[in-house]
């Protein structure tokens, strides 16, 4: 009797065997309903990953599958192989990978019924002329045969999207499908509208977690059955099955949101490259500030570098200058130079943006009389003052409390917010510029896609003079009247513990600076800093990404950090730190036996945020100069970790290629 191997969404690496009378080799890739657990009640949905004649299971333990769901085409072999790769590479159970890769409705064993109404097609816009660099990039991508990774390094405003659209047009003409991944924050109705308007006859599917279940189900089926021409989505779209996929585009490839921070901790950019290789098709990674990993590959010739060094519309790049705040008196954190520049811009009827990457009114509420501060009782972090709705909030676990009327320790009512967030900046600017229309843009003011869109519309209609915003504003938005960007409070990232912090800061500031002067008006960027001579700010002022990247790569080479080494973190969470550290110490001993010369294990240490949601957290870093050596080690180590029983209440996971240390 045929036996089917079924991948189930369970924290166990191996597939499960079931009897299936009617199973044929064509059933591999179908979803299947199987009994699970003691008794007859429990059932689970899995995916048939193989057919077998024999099984290691004793006959009395082998149970028949309930039903093979043949109501949609089987998930193709390439899709299953991609999932299997992720399972191996990220040390995650195959069933859990497949469950993540399926939309929720299909994962529940159902299919969407009524097809949601397609949005009205956007009016087709004029197709802009290509600049010579853009044309050369499009040609290079088009002439390639087979797998090739292109790194499209284009300064902000150089027209990268136009290059993507032309490359996609080439693929559609040849009857292929295209996949375009964008960071969460950049997937706006504008981008979707731009793509649909360019390809009015194409079936464009958008895929992200905010889409209703039925629509997501249809999107997946349209992709799987070949009806979709273009899939545009966030990181999870990398798993969309596309039988005629001929091109993958990853926009803003450096963006940290491509790396999932829970469950399957995959990098959608890296998985996209693997997928392109698997299918032998080209992939374009685009960015104004490529990740140092990608830049390093391009420098070494593994990726082909395509550069766009001229702005498509605006003539000049914004002038970037630092404001030395060491000996200056600041008013609510703003220097006179920046306040004057804001006043000038306002007088000219142009828009300004003050960038502060910290939302809320102030990062902490404190009692000056006794020293009490607003700590989160669940995390090793402070509660942030949100004066707009009179709440204290933990930005890590979401704990909320009303603002106390007086100090809980000494009774003093004159407790004070310390430090500065976007709300405080907004209220200062409102006092200082009563005639200006001020708009705050952060996760609090743009808490839903609808509110976010309304804010963007207000900006575009010229309904705001001064914007105060976090990194939400940094990406992919063109504001034609924006001519001044002020950067406040950026210095902290210069000296952060994470070696990637400068890379992130540089790309963030480059992006936010790139918002200014994108149309006919020249732009200006003022960065307030106590370190005006820091190489990072100098490189920014010189628009010198290459110089900055080479400098950073030199430092990383000297320190043996990625991309010159490959890393994995084992993280443990437990009720108390000692337990977490002890588990890691034991894991380390087990690992030392398996690690050869090429793999090094560091000491277990508490994480930077040492307590989250009442769990104490610690981590153990494993490093190797060789990716295959690290992978080989992880396979054995992960098996040994699964085999040992973790103490009750302790949870652990492996994070391969961690983005945050």
């Amino acid at each position: 009797m045929p036996v089917i191997r079924v991948a189930l969404d369970l924290p166990l690496p191996q597939p499960f065997d079931y009897l299936a009378d009617d199973a044929t080799p064509d059933d591999v890739g179908h979803r299947v309903l199987v009994p699970f657990g003691p008794g007859d009640k429990g059932r689970k949905l899995g995916i048939v990953v193989a057919l077998a004649d024999t099984t290691d299971q004793p006959a009395e333990k082998l149970r028949p599958a309930l039903e093979i769901l043949r109501d949609m085409p089987p998930l193709p072999a390439t899709w299953r192989e991609l999932c299997a790769f992720c399972a191996r590479y990220y040390q995650h159970p195959l069933g859990a990978v497949m469950a993540l890769a399926l939309p929720p409705l299909l994962r529940k064993g159902r299919l969407p019924r009524r097809r949601p109404k397609a949005p009205a097609p956007a009016p087709a816009g004029a197709i802009p002329e290509l600049l010579p660099e853009q044309a050369a990039a499009v040609a290079a991508i088009g002439e390639g045969r087979g797998f090739r990774t292109y790194l499209l390094h284009g300064i902000t405003g150089s027209g990268k999207t136009e290059v993507y659209l032309r490359a996609i047009a080439q693929v559609l003409q040849g009857g292929g499908q295209a996949l375009m991944l964008v960071p969460e924050i950049a997937l706006t109705p504008q981008l979707i509208g731009r793509v649909s308007a360019r390809f009015p006859d194409a079936h464009v599917v958008t895929a992200h977690s905010g889409i209703p279940e039925a629509a997501r189900g249809w999107g997946f089926l349209d992709a799987l059955e070949g009806r979709a021409d273009i899939v545009l989505g966030t990181r999870l779209a990398v798993f969309m099955p596309l039988p005629r996929l001929r091109l993958i585009v990853v926009d803003e490839e450096h963006d940290p949101s491509f790396k999932q921070q829970e469950g399957l901790r995959y990098s959608a950019r890296d998985v996209a490259v693997v997928r392109a290789k698997q299918l032998d098709i080209p992939i374009v990674l685009g960015s104004a500030t490529p990740s140092l990993e990608s830049f390093h590959h391009a420098a070494g010739g593994r990726y082909r570098l395509l550069e766009l060094q001229r702005r498509a519309v605006a003539e000049r790049l914004p002038a970037v200058a630092t404001v030395d705040t060491r000996r200056k008196k600041l008013r609510d954190g703003l220097s006179e130079a920046l306040i004057d520049a804001l006043a000038d811009t306002l007088a000219r009827g142009e828009q300004s943006l003050v960038f502060l990457n910290r939302r809320g009114y102030a990062p902490v509420l404190a009692c000056p009389a006794c020293g009490w501060i607003s700590r989160c009782r669940r995390c090793a972090a402070n509660l942030v003052v949100h004066l707009a709705d009179r709440r204290l909030r933990c930005h890590h676990c979401g704990l909320e409390a009303p603002i106390p009327r007086h100090c809980p320790d000494c009774g003093n009512q004159d407790i004070q917010p310390f430090g500065r967030g976007t709300q405080r900046l907004e209220s200062f600017l409102a006092d200082r510029f009563p005639e200006a229309r001020i708009l705050r843009i952060d996760r609090d003011s743009a808490s839903t896609p609808g509110r976010w869109q309304a804010l963007l519309d207000t900006i575009h209609e010229g309904g705001a003079d001064i914007l105060v915003g976090t990194q939400m504003l940094a990406k992919g938005h063109d504001f034609p009247r924006l001519t001044l960007v002020g950067v406040v409070g950026a210095d902290a990232a210069l000296f952060a513990a994470d070696f990637r912090a400068p890379e992130r800061l540089f790309s963030q500031l480059m992006q936010v600076g790139g918002r200014s002067g994108r149309a006919a008006l020249p732009g200006r960027v003022l960065i307030q800093t106590e370190y005006p001579d820091h190489p990072l700010y100098r490189a920014l002022a010189g628009h010198d990404y290459g110089g900055f990247a080479r400098g950073q790569l030199e430092e990383r080479r000297a320190a043996g950090f990625p991309p010159f080494s490959h890393q994995c973190l084992l993280r443990a969470e437990a009720r108390d730190m000692a337990q977490a550290l002890a588990f890691l110490a034991e894991a380390r001993r087990a690992g030392e036996g398996l690690a050869g010369e090429a793999v090094g294990l560091y000491d277990p240490v508490p994480m930077r945020l040492a307590r989250l949601m009442n769990l104490e957290r610690a981590q153990l870093l494993v490093e190797s100069a060789s990716r295959p050596a690290l992978q080989a080690f992880l396979a054995g180590w992960s098996a040994s970790l699964h085999a040992r029983k973790a103490p009750a209440g302790l949870r652990w996971h492996l994070d391969v290629d961690p983005q945050e240390l």
Partner: protein, 110 residues
């Protein structure tokens, strides 16, 4: 409140400086001001002139009352002393009651 817990100060003077009315995060109005005191006292049998400045803080209704006052106004303030902060231990008079002194100029009653 006699004994070791006693902390009570009464002082008259004119407003030398006054801050803008602000609010605690809990919504209480707060007004900080500097009081200039001038008087004549007898010290160890000798008449002398006395001058000093006192940092004051009023909260709640007292703060609202003081918000109507201008620099140069004469007042009598009663309250208790508390350190400015954990680090700066010099005292600030926390005003509990305030009385405006009619017809006063430069702290000298006419």
């Amino acid at each position: 409140m006699p004994g070791p817990a006693r902390n009570s100060v009464a002082i008259a003077g004119v407003l030398l400086e006054r801050g803008a009315l602000r609010y605690t995060p809990g919504g209480q109005p707060v007004l900080e001001f500097l009081l200039a005191h001038r008087s004549a006292r007898t010290e160890a049998g000798t008449q002398r002139r006395v001058e000093c400045e006192m940092a004051c803080l009023a909260m709640g209704p007292t703060a609202l009352l003081l918000d109507g006052a201008a620099v140069g106004d004469a007042v009598e303030a009663k309250g208790f002393l508390a350190a400015r902060s954990l680090k700066r231990r010099s005292p600030v008079l926390h005003v509990e009651t305030i009385e405006f002194i009619e017809g006063a100029k430069n702290g000298i009653q006419t």
